[in-house]
């Protein structure tokens, strides 16, 4: 069979499946019947199956959500690397132009370096307050990555303010993902549920002395459990993932 004929058949099959998908989607939307009082049931039962309300909201609703987001980010980094990564991951890097596309202005030169400090510090604040205030690891990591983006835009890929290699970014990303996944395993080991918030904190299970526990306990009257540490792990992961994407996109080369 010629390719043109096969392509026509493929379009026909795709159209049939699209029609089926559209029918079922419309049917689901028209006949959508929300369970009355689902949030009340969740609020009533939530604290009895999880240590506290913070766990119910932040962990049950956002823990797995963040895990999925992390995997989406990994896929995004892979896709960006495959599509645009030839300039950074392959090819002749020595022939690349190390200067940015446009030379930085005086204002950019003066304000870029201080702003990088301020943005990174603010990103850390967002990360460490994510369990009790709007923020969290994903947001904090994104904010810190904007500092890297700013320095790449102003000073170029090779000589930006952050002196970190592609391998270093990969190491950071791996460490962040490992922190997240291992903390999930802690929940699995202690409660039987993956990513379960073990409640009080990690230290009693690890045999850490009470003095160190009192120093490193996150100040929170309702006790956030492992969520602050999940935030730190996801911040590292998101930060290095976005930085990798920025590096790849900034170093992308056109190949005929």
């Amino acid at each position: 069979m010629k390719f043109e004929n096969f392509q026509g058949m493929r379009n026909l099959v795709a159209a049939i499946f699209l029609g089926l998908f559209s029918f079922f989607l419309l049917d689901a939307l028209v006949n959508f019947d929300p369970i009355a009082g689902a949030s009340y049931i969740y609020n009533l039962k939530g604290p009895s199956i999880a240590p506290n309300m913070i766990t119910v909201i932040l962990f049950d609703w956002r823990g797995y959500d963040t895990l999925g987001e992390a995997f989406i980010l990994i896929t995004a980094v892979f896709t960006t690397g495959i599509l645009f990564g030839r300039g950074v991951l392959g090819g002749d890097i020595s022939s690349q132009d190390e200067t940015p596309a446009r030379r930085p202005t005086v204002v950019q030169k003066i304000f870029a370096a201080p702003l990088v400090f301020i943005i990174v510090a603010f990103g850390i604040v967002l990360t460490l307050g994510g369990h009790i205030t709007p923020g969290g690891g994903f947001q904090g990591g994104s904010v810190i990555a904007t500092a890297f983006f700013l320095s790449v835009v102003v000073y170029g890929t090779k000589k930006n303010i952050f002196n970190i290699s592609h391998k270093g970014l990969i190491a950071f990303e791996s460490i962040g993902a490992l922190i997240y996944l291992c903390l999930g395993l802690v929940g699995l080991a202690l409660s039987g549920y993956y990513l379960y918030n073990v409640g009080a904190n990690l230290y009693p299970g690890l045999g850490v002395s009470s003095t160190i526990q009192s120093i490193f306990s996150f100040p929170d009257s309702t006790n956030a459990g492992i969520i602050p540490y999940l935030n730190i792990g996801i911040a590292l992961k998101v930060l290095s993932g976005f930085c990798t994407i920025i590096t790849i996109l900034a170093g992308a080369e056109k190949h005929e």
């Binding site: 990174v120 604040v125 923020g135 000073y155 100040p219 929170d220």
Partner: protein, 82 residues
């Protein structure tokens, strides 16, 4: 009152880790002065964020975590910066 020293130490460590990757060639007296001025300005506006201290009788007018992370960035840049 809760004890926020653990958060401050972790902020210092993360700041140090990121600061140790910062190049020194773009920093001089002007940029340090600008950083300090901007830092104080933003820190005052952040206020008690992210509200670790829930005791409203003892309100801290500036963000200790922000100061700690900024300090960690400075130390990391001076000790481990390239």
């Amino acid at each position: 009152m809760s004890n926020p020293i653990g958060v401050l130490i972790i902020a210092l460590i993360i700041g140090f880790a990121i600061g140790s990757f910062i190049r020194g060639e773009y920093f001089n007296k002007k940029t340090y002065a600008t950083t300090l001025a901007l830092g104080v300005f933003i820190d005052m506006f952040l206020g008690n964020f992210p509200f670790y201290n829930w005791d409203i009788t003892m309100e801290i007018p500036f963000s200790l975590v922000f100061i700690s992370s900024l300090l960690g960035l400075y130390i990391g840049k001076f000790i481990g910066g390239r």
